[in-house]
Symmetry: C2
Subunit: 252 residues, 2 copies
């Protein structure tokens, strides 16, 4: 996967750090980025503190090909992502004419108040990410893509943004699992398979489900033939331990 551009996700907001909110965005974005060949390499969950947001955006955009942010672009005092991204880029934070026009049209006369005008205020040079759910757009500046935190709105923005990005080959995944098998019994054999397929990431994930315990073995990479070959070797390894290999993921 070395030919793939890389991504970092910044989840901005105190609500995940306090445990009030169960994050629902990481998995969606991770899967979506895998499909367009821009694998997610790091996630950071950070609080609504300007210095932290500015420093993290600048660190991430220097290190990864793409940075995605969720959260902090609403109308309230704790929504500070947009102005912090402007500060990170060292550009003015100013009304975006197209965003302004969309929001002005959405609200009844007199309702497009100062707080809501913040949602149409963006770093200079931002291009909009459409939001057909609640109008207020996200935006892209440089390699940073700023999206809402509410999952339904974020998902709409991501679907609109993804086709505009140039990814590498999609990340594919093969899976074999075995109920009742302890991963300690196949560890040596699995390490040998990993060493024979250095271009793949081979992972071992024990599961503890109401119906059964077991282990899921995952082979991930760009090359479907290599994934198939590795899964065949994993299948043989599981059988050699007297367990029954099952193709695919264990059911949740």
């Amino acid at each position: 996967m070395s030919q793939n551009p890389t991504a970092c996700l910044l989840v901005i907001g105190n609500e995940v750090l306090s445990g009030r909110t169960q994050d629902a965005n990481i998995k969606f974005i991770a899967v979506g980025l895998g499909e367009i060949g821009i694998p997610l390499r790091e996630v950071r969950v950070i609080p609504d503190i300007p210095e932290t947001i500015i420093a993290t955006v600048n660190e991430a955009r220097a290190k990864f090909d793409h940075v995605f942010t969720t959260g902090g672009i609403g109308p309230t005092h704790d929504d500070i992502t947009s102005e912090c991204v402007a500060a990170a880029f060292g550009v003015p934070w100013e009304p975006h004419p197209e965003a302004w026009a969309r929001l002005d049209a959405r609200y009844a006369p007199g309702e497009f108040n100062a707080a809501r005008q913040r949602m149409a205020t963006m770093p200079r040079g931002a291009t909009l990410i459409d939001n057909e759910i609640s109008t207020a757009p996200g935006f892209t500046i440089g390699n940073v893509h700023v999206m809402a935190g509410v999952p339904r709105i974020m998902q709409a923005m991501f679907r609109n943004l993804a086709p505009t990005l140039t990814g590498g080959p999609p990340i594919r995944m093969g899976a074999v699992h075995a109920k009742g098998l302890a991963e300690g019994r196949i560890a040596d054999g699995l390490a040998a398979i990993q060493s024979r397929f250095p271009a793949l990431d081979i992972g071992s994930y024990p599961y503890y489900r109401p119906d059964a315990n077991g282990v899921a073995l995952i082979a991930k990479g760009n090359d479907p033939d290599a994934i198939a070959a590795a899964c065949a070797e994993i299948t043989t390894l599981i059988a050699s331990c007297g367990a029954t290999p099952i193709q695919g993921e264990p059911l949740a």
Copy 2:
């Protein structure tokens, strides 16, 4: 909350970054740390890459009072957290006699193989975190607490670890919500309340539920009286907009 020690969580493992696995640990740890007065200030999800783990552990342990890690302490080739933490601290990674004895006693003769012995190999100076679910212990070295990634095992470890940590006053939370209210209508009033209660974090979280949309207003901090006073002002603010304030969080 400035008198509280701080925490960072490192979620180590490719499975969350690929989207294969929905993280189930962040929220549990965030809530548990809030209860013992060690608020979670940052989460990083990072891959199973030694240089990344080592650098991130060293950055986090210098910046936060406590660092918690989940994942990567099993027996397979992709379980490299323990040896990376040893490298981060610059200490040998060697058999831990007590961990070794526990695991040796758990397995049938001949089954405590080389892969499983890795689970009893730890940074020199580590103290054990008990694991009554599957025996293999986590450990603490310095201000870094290394736990399993499987939620049920992590939770057992966290419950054993938490009473040994010295926290600050617990982080308390008050909530008021209003169905059908758009946050853009109360943003100015809410900012004014935040400015009157600078020691609290006041957050505004719109929700989109099958039964109703609305906004949840959260006041968080150490001082129960300040939280109650802020919630009373929020209640008045909501009512002044013609909406009905409801004490507590909206039902999930």
